[in-house]
């Protein structure tokens, strides 16, 4: 479509997500409503008819697993190349590694952990319409739902909810300032020359860079080549391009077309209107200056254009890049953003696979999911939770606000709240877990209680 190539950065085994991820389950394969998170991106791209993909995975093992899964699941739907890159090369490094595969005019780069219903086609179209060197998808920073973990976290959350500081022009199409990472917590420093060029700049803290970018390929490759210290697209490449947009230093070949774009016009237009103010009072100067005006290539104030596509508030957009996000997204996908899951919900607003077995007096509330082959004993209660395949759950078990992956055994009398339980975990009798993450294959001995702890096999 439209001569776009798509690169999906699927990550590797992010340490941030330990103990949820492991060698067996790289980040891309973490389940969201019982299917790998990567499938959400792939299907989103497919829906925009973007079917030629390069999926970049950190680490050979992880790449093999991801590749295996993709070829199984999407064999005749998508044309996917999986590329393995060393770990910790960063997103910029990952792109460097696959740069030689890129041939199209524009490249769409999507993070593999994105769960969203914003059409990538809209980002690509904005990019094309403005002739931008980069267009980024901005979405409203999630106001994470009222978690039952208590109000003490409330204050932290207010602080946390700031992901980026973004500067936009009055039409909200040009991206004029962006602060990412550690800069976000610092004072805002806006370049005066950019402000002067637009006159008015809107600074917002409620938007988040969703890590979906359309890049002009030549520019991207140039930047990656020239700036070998750049590590991350979000924190290095994008801010760099935004920062230098009024005095582009990217080699001209990539930019000849861009020069005449509207942003170029913004500054030169201002310039001309300003000049015309002086036309009456100093006509000679006006003529001379016009002759000097930045049209000739040597004198050109070379500019490039950075754009933003702001997803409307009703769209869902989240990245699975923390344990909190993992829980939130799982909850949302069977809850308020249920259209993303691709499942059809029952009249009780939940999904119980026909092959699942429920004991007597066991209730599964709305916004829950119980996958195939799972069994539950008597008098259990499941609220706002997801339970994977082939789990065996005893009697008198309460599961609230939790994610239980596949092949988990939970014995009688357990209480699981706000927790994530990975595959093959065994909870013995009367275990109480609150806000815990249990790594794959772990055995929790009977009667133990844990609160806010990650547990994993050594």
């Amino acid at each position: 479509m439209m001569d776009f190539q798509v690169v999906v950065l699927a990550g590797g085994t992010a340490k941030k997500l330990a103990p949820l991820v492991s060698k067996e389950v790289p980040k891309a394969l973490l389940p969201v409503a019982n299917r790998p998170v990567l499938s959400y991106v792939l299907e989103l791209l497919e829906s925009s008819n973007l079917k030629d993909l390069i999926v970049v995975v950190e680490g050979e093992d992880a790449a093999l697993r991801v590749g295996g899964w993709i070829s199984g699941a999407y064999v005749d739907r998508l044309h996917v190349e999986v590329a393995a890159v060393p770990e910790d090369v960063g997103t910029a490094g990952a792109l460097r590694a696959v740069a030689h595969h890129l041939t199209a005019n524009d490249v769409l780069i999507v993070s593999g952990d994105l769960v969203s219903d914003v059409p990538p086609g809209a980002v690509a179209a904005t990019h094309r319409r403005h002739g931008a060197v980069v267009t980024t998808l901005l979405c409203y920073a999630p106001v994470s739902g009222p978690s039952d973990t208590g109000s003490s976290a409330g204050k932290d959350k207010v602080k946390k909810s700031r992901y980026n500081i973004v500067g936009l022009d009055p039409t909200r199409q040009l991206l004029l300032h962006i602060a990412a990472g550690a800069e976000v917590e610092k004072d805002i420093r806006v370049q005066k020359n950019i402000l002067r060029a637009v006159g008015q700049l809107e600074i917002r803290a409620d938007l988040m860079d969703a890590h979906m970018y359309a890049f002009k390929r030549t520019v991207l490759q140039d930047v990656l080549d020239q700036k070998d210290t750049f590590h991350s697209i979000r924190q290095d490449v994008l801010p760099y391009l935004v920062r230098t947009q009024l005095r582009s230093e990217i080699s001209a070949n990539g930019l000849h077309k861009v020069e005449d774009n509207a942003n170029g016009r913004v500054s030169s237009q201002n310039y001309v209107t300003w000049m015309s103010q002086h036309r009456e009072i100093a006509p000679s100067a006006y003529q001379e200056l016009l002759a000097l005006s930045p049209r000739s290539p040597e004198n050109a104030l070379r500019t490039h254009k950075c754009c933003a596509y702001i997803a409307s508030k009703s769209k869902y957009c989240a990245r699975l890049n923390s344990i909190q996000a993992f829980s939130d997204i799982n909850r949302d996908v069977v809850g308020e953003a249920s259209h993303l899951s691709g499942y059809s919900f029952s009249s009780q607003n939940n999904i119980i696979h026909p092959s699942a077995e429920l004991g007597s007096k066991t209730t599964v509330g709305p916004q829950c999911m119980l996958a195939e082959g799972s069994q539950m004993g008597d008098k259990c209660s499941v609220k706002r939770s997801i339970i994977g395949r082939h789990c065996r759950i005893g009697s008198n078990v309460k599961i609230v606000n939790s994610v239980v992956m596949n092949h988990v055994t939970i014995e009688d009398g357990c209480l699981v709240q706000g927790s994530v339980i990975c595959s093959n975990v065994h909870l013995q009798e009367r275990v109480v877990l609150k806000d815990c993450q249990i790594g794959a294959g772990y055995v929790v001995t009977s009667g133990s209680e844990y609160k806010s702890e990650p547990l994993a096999r050594k």
Partner: protein, 632 residues
């Protein structure tokens, strides 16, 4: 504050009761600046004619039109003149709801002092409009007042509403068409609260730094450099008490507004009201005098235009085609031409073949033959003899230009100056009968019109008047300016040296258009600037990317980067001295102290030392056998 409370307690909180507080205004009839010198040495700025009516009349007429009932005119410099004028004017006489009361003070040196005086008088009892006497506007205050009042009801800390207007500064000279410097403002788009205000921007600063806390309460803010401050403020009585509490507040914007914005302890808030279609501007300098005069002639300020009698201004002006205003009794030669956008005052005579364009000519002037007047402002009773050429000049009352005088752009001739035959007054000169005050007066701190000069001035006028037509003025203080030959034989006046305020900046605030060369210069520098800034940018990302791991570097990376380069150079130079034979012990000490003073780590130090060693090893192989190992 106290008296406000008293008032409130009397009137209870009934809104209708509150509404009965008469709308008051404080008009500062002193700019507390010296931008209109030398003219303001003899006459206060507010009485200077703007399209043939004193500025203060425009302001008072506007105040009356917006429903102000009581206006307090604060006079300081030349207070007597202002008071005399008001007494004679119709403002004091007219019956009706609008009363004007002069307040006199002699020791106020700033707007802050003025407001403190007014506070002490205790005359303000409610929200008031604060303007200076050089404000021209036709805006309606209704909406702004309403907004202000409603905000006050909800939030008593909202003490001030500032009126702003769209005006994009030039991207080259960074000044607006009024000649003001660009202003950077941050405004909350929903509440219109002013969050940040910066005038006098430092051009060397590439960045605007906004406190991160600004975004704590609101997710969005708008950063503007395309707004102009109209210097019309709606203030609550607290503003006065704030000035009294903070006795160091002098300037309304630089101290008061910034002080409130910075101070988050008290939490006072300032809001903005943007006007779109109406006119509001303040005459701050000669360029704004020029711009606003043109706006008046071109009727942007309607109804405050010369042919409408909104105050007892002048005799009936008649508007012809092309924006030419003529008083009824103009003695114009048949061959004289008056071109577009000009105004000719009553009783003025214009000789043969003279051409007047884009200019304002006052009353009872005599203009000879073949005179060319372009873009100039000529006040009353001016005599211009034959063959003079004036372009973009300001000529005050009673000036006499003898035949063949040429005034280059930007010339200011103060009252009663006489210029001898065929003299060319160079561009941007300011000529006055009064000698330039000695240098210490022009100190930044004393930028306001000092009351003293007003006192001293009258004797000096007479003394010079006595010596009129004597070739060299005898009592001149400064040899440089002593020779009146500068203004010609039989000329009278001193040419002020332009060092005051910096010659550099003279063109910015002058009546004359910005010269072509200047624009070229800016244009070119914008390009060369490009090269420089590119380097800047190069250095930024290089370290900018490190931000994650090194918190401390943060935004000053650019500097740090430079620092480390400096450091390397220093180390290298120091190291070279070992090779030159200095005791290595001393050099170790020096390098260590260098490291401390640049705040570098051991690794940095070792790195740059290693670099120096390698460099010297490469440049001078086998030349020395010193052991460097012990250096580190």
């Amino acid at each position: 504050m106290a008296q406000k409370k008293g008032h409130r307690s009397l009137s209870s909180d009934d809104p209708e009761e509150l509404a009965r507080v008469p709308l008051q205004a404080v008009l500062l009839a002193d700019s507390f600046a010296t931008k209109f010198r030398p003219i303001t040495l003899e006459r206060p700025k507010v009485l200077l004619p703007l399209v043939n009516a004193p500025m203060i009349d425009y302001t008072l007429a506007w105040l009356e039109s917006v429903g102000v009932e009581e206006a307090f005119v604060f006079c300081c410099a030349h207070s007597q003149q202002v008071k005399d004028y008001l007494n004679k004017s119709q403002w004091m006489k007219q019956p009706g709801t609008f009363t004007v009361q002069p307040i006199e003070s002699h020791d106020s040196i700033s707007a802050g002092d003025a407001l403190r005086v007014i506070y002490n008088l205790g005359v303000i009892c409610g929200d008031f409009v604060l303007v200076s006497g050089d404000t021209i506007s036709n805006m309606s205050l209704k909406e702004a007042l309403q907004e202000h009042k409603e905000r006050r009801k909800k939030d008593p800390l909202a003490v001030m509403t500032m009126v702003i207007k769209h005006s994009k500064p030039s991207s080259l000279t960074h000044q607006t068409r009024l000649g003001n410097d660009e202003i950077l403002m941050a405004i909350d788009p929903d509440t219109k609260e002013l969050l940040y205000y910066e005038d006098k921007t430092d051009q060397s600063q590439r960045f605007i730094t906004l406190d991160k806390m600004l975004l704590a309460s609101t997710p969005t803010l708008h950063l503007h450099n395309d707004k102009q401050d109209c210097y019309i403020d709606i203030c609550s009585p607290e503003v006065l008490s704030l000035f009294t509490d903070n006795f160091d507040y002098q300037h309304l914007r630089r101290h008061f507004v910034k002080g409130l914005l910075v101070d988050d302890l008290m939490g006072y808030k300032i809001f903005t009201h943007e006007i779109h279609s109406s006119y509001a501007a303040r005459i701050d300098n000669f360029r704004s005098y020029d711009t606003i005069s043109k706006d008046i002639i071109q009727r942007w300020t309607y109804p405050m235009v010369p042919d409408v009698q909104y105050f007892g201004n002048c005799s009936q002006m008649k508007l012809d085609r092309l924006g030419i205003y003529k008083a009824p009794e103009v003695d114009q030669s048949r061959t004289a031409q008056i071109r577009a956008f000009s105004l000719i005052g009553n009783g003025t005579a214009i000789g043969d073949h003279s051409v007047i364009s884009n200019s304002v000519i006052g009353q009872s002037c005599t203009i000879g033959r073949n005179v060319s007047i372009q873009g100039s402002y000529i006040w009353d009773n001016v005599i211009i003899e034959d063959d003079c050429k004036l372009s973009h000049a300001l000529v005050c009352d009673g000036v006499h230009l003898r035949a063949g005088v040429v005034l280059e752009p930007g010339v200011i001739l103060s009252f009663k100056v006489e210029v001898g035959q065929k003299i060319v007054i160079p561009a941007y000169s300011k000529v006055s009968l009064l000698p330039q005050p000695s240098k210490q007066d022009s100190d930044e701190e004393l930028e306001y019109a000092d009351a003293n000069s007003g006192v001293v001035e009258s004797p000096s006028i007479t003394s010079i008047a006595n010596t009129r037509n004597v070739d060299p003025v005898p009592d001149s203080p400064d040899a440089e300016h002593s020779d009146t030959s500068e203004v010609g034989i039989s000329g009278v006046g001193y040419i002020w040296s332009t060092t005051e305020g910096g010659h550099e900046e003279e063109w910015r605030h002058s009546i004359a258009p910005i010269p072509a060369e200047k624009l070229m210069e800016f244009c070119l520098s914008a390009h060369t600037d490009l090269g420089v800034s590119n380097q800047d940018v190069n250095s930024l990302p290089a370290s900018g990317e490190l931000q994650l791991d090194s918190e401390s570097t943060g935004f000053d990376d650019g500097e740090d980067y430079k620092d480390s380069a400096d450091f390397e150079k220093e180390v290298e130079a120091t190291f070279q001295r070992v090779l030159a034979g200095v005791n290595p012990e001393n050099v170790i000490l020096e390098i260590n102290s260098l490291r401390l003073s640049y705040d570098m780590s051991h690794a940095d130090c070792a790195g740059s030392l290693f670099y120096s060693i390698m460099k010297s090893a490469l440049s001078a192989p086998f030349s020395s056998n010193l052991s460097f190992g012990n250096l580190i």
